[in-house]
């Protein structure tokens, strides 16, 4: 085997028999062997768990006691009748929207700024990415101290300019804004770089032509950049949706108890799942929530795709 690998001269016809067979076998089988680690691992930690989650959700299942018998859809009907479930869904959607929409707008503006002829390009690009290396746990601890109700930096600044304090840990909407701020701190720059890459792929002669036609910066931006950027925007929205709807770290560490606030002000779906599974030890119900969340994510993903398609095609029509 080792000698055959260092053959430099063309091998003689006769010695080809065995090697030829080995070679053919190698060509046919090796590719499957090379890609198999991914598929095996995905089957074990992706596909199987998804199916098994379904199985657990149809049983009474205790964290310690294990399976306690068939439950049918009881877990689902129980969860769907809980006020907490709907509150969690509302909070998740609210935090997601409050973070995603301003983040996308800010990221697009930053990307447009980075897409100009800057001095020290690399410096500015790196500077927007700094927050990305801070772990969400640290981000939450840092921002949590700024959003304190009595002594937080934000409320102190607000009172300095004559505004009343905001109850960041009591009022649901205020807590959602605080949590969304943490998400945006970490991800806006990252998404700006992705959008910047998309902007740089726009053919420059489009801008040239538009400028000759007298279009100013703003018109160029809305009539060329944004429509050309559509696939990138869709990509950013889809990834933000998958990540955003599963949000856990920030609401978990927003207070010491980690269960989403006294009145579930900022209890998200994943926090609820955790609460059911690891506080109430009810894996059947936790699994039911996992599946419901999966359905929500898929639905929102499809909705996104549908709307972005529609918006895109109507824009194409207008042009």
């Amino acid at each position: 085997m080792t000698t055959s690998t260092v053959v430099v001269k063309a091998p003689s016809r006769r010695s080809l028999g065995l090697r030829d067979n080995l070679g053919r076998w190698d060509l046919a089988v090796s590719p499957y062997l090379f890609i198999s680690p991914f598929f095996i691992l995905f089957a074990l930690v992706g596909l199987f768990p998804l199916a098994y989650t379904g199985w657990v959700s149809l049983h009474r299942w205790d964290l310690i006691g294990g399976e306690l018998g068939w439950a049918g859809f009881d877990n689902f009907t129980f969860v769907l009748q809980q006020r907490q479930f709907w509150v969690a869904l509302r909070n998740t959607a609210s935090i997601f929207l409050i973070s995603a929409v301003p983040q996308l707008i800010a990221a697009t503006a930053i990307a447009a700024a980075l897409d100009t002829h800057l001095r020290n390009k690399t410096f500015w690009r790196m500077s927007v990415l700094v927050p990305f290396v801070v772990m969400p746990v640290a981000v939450t601890l840092i921002f949590g101290s700024m959003f304190g109700e009595r002594y937080g930096l934000v409320n102190r600044t607000l009172s300095d300019i004559g505004l009343g304090p905001i109850r960041w840990h009591t009022d649901p909407l205020a807590s959602h804004i605080a949590i969304a701020t943490m998400v945006n701190f970490r991800w806006t720059g990252y998404n700006a770089l992705i959008l910047l890459a998309g902007m740089q792929a726009v053919p420059r002669d489009l801008y040239e032509a538009a400028t000759i036609d007298g279009a100013n910066w703003l018109r160029r931006f809305f009539l060329i950049t944004i429509p050309q950027l559509r696939p990138t925007i869709v990509f950013v929205i889809i990834t933000a949706t998958i990540g955003g709807l599963q949000i856990f770290d920030e609401p978990r560490l927003y207070d010491q108890n980690g269960l989403g606030g006294e009145d579930q002000q900022w209890m998200t779906m994943t926090i609820y799942l955790y609460k059911l599974g690891w506080n109430q030890l009810n894996f059947g119900r936790a699994a039911a929530v996992a599946w419901l969340l999966f359905v929500v994510i898929v639905a929102v993903g499809l909705l996104n795709l549908f709307f972005t398609r529609r918006i895109a095609s109507s824009e194409d029509g207008r042009r």
């Binding site: 590719p31 995905f42 930690v45 500015w124 990415l129 640290a138 981000v139 040239e208 856990f248 980690g258």
Partner: protein, 289 residues
């Protein structure tokens, strides 16, 4: 007329090519300050004492207690700082090395080998990126408990050994960076697929592999949800350990924020040396995504 048009064109080009004005630099400076301010804030509070945050006459000049607070974090028994740091290094290194190796291996096969079902399988890989893996915690936890892995690093490492993103990323790169002729030549010289991979594909993929490794390292270093469930306080990763800082009844923010800053230092150092590559990697990945 044509002279006029060309003047017009040059003027238009000049307008696009010109250096940006104060608004652009102003916006970017604002973003820069917003990016860096939380670090300063952490240092400000982290260098004070338990009363600094609630001090109404709070000064913007850091105090002298930072090292003292850092020591309080390190010596806190429930935090296990050094243990957590070592665990984070192990988990992130093993996961990055494994993701890079297996993704490059699969990427090489997808990009350069001809086999039945190649296209379909690649589409499948991309499709799996949309499956939210976090939702699998319940069965993963059941499986991990059955194997007796709860609390051990294996429970955190194994699910991350290879990712769909990595496979897709390396496939894209190898497809354009490795010429078919080179693969063909190696085969004619009698090299097996594995040898071709090891001696030709792996060296060629080094730039993309480095970016993938960097990205994967950051993602696993900052990961919280699954390690938090699978591990416990006596054997944590850094984010899990950091979270316990706040779990006390009385929260001393000077110590919490010193800890938050301390936990950020390793990746921040990495960023200073490899930030440029990370920026490049994210931008290149975006174009194909």
């Amino acid at each position: 007329m044509s002279v006029l048009a060309s003047i017009e064109r040059r003027r238009a080009l000049a307008r696009i090519e010109q250096r940006p004005g104060a608004i652009v630099y102003g916006l970017l400076t604002f973003v820069l300050i917003a990016s860096v301010f939380p670090f300063y804030w952490s240092f400000l509070i982290g260098s004070g004492d338990a009363g600094t945050l609630s001090d109404t006459g709070m000064s913007w000049i850091p105090g002298g207690n930072f090292l003292h607070n850092v020591r309080a974090v390190i010596e806190n028994d429930s935090v296990n700082f050094w243990h957590a740091l070592a665990n984070s290094v192990i988990v992130s290194s093993v996961i990055s090395a494994s993701v890079v190796f297996f993704s490059t291996l699969a990427g090489f096969a997808f990009a350069k080998a001809r086999f039945r079902g190649r296209r379909g399988l690649l589409v499948f890989v991309i499709g799996t990126m949309c499956v939210p893996t976090q939702l699998s915690v319940v069965p993963l936890f059941i499986a991990v408990s059955k194997f007796g892995w709860t609390g051990s690093l294996g429970a955190v490492i194994v699910p991350g050994l290879v990712t769909a993103f990595g496979v897709f990323w390396m496939t894209q790169y190898i497809a354009q960076a490795l010429p078919d002729e080179l693969v063909e030549a190696a085969r004619i010289d009698g090299a097996s697929m594995l040898q071709t991979f090891w001696r030709i594909a792996l060296p060629v993929s080094r730039p993309a592999a480095a970016m993938l490794g960097l990205f994967t390292f950051i993602m696993s270093w900052t990961n919280f949800f699954w390690p938090f469930i699978a591990l416990n306080q006596s054997n944590p990763t850094l984010p899990v350990a950091l979270a316990t800082l706040q779990a006390n009844y009385f929260v001393d923010y000077s110590i919490v924020l010193a800890g938050a800053l301390l936990a950020t230092v390793p990746l921040l150092t990495l960023f200073i040396f490899a930030g440029r590559q990370l920026v490049e990697g994210i931008m290149r990945g975006a174009l194909k995504g």
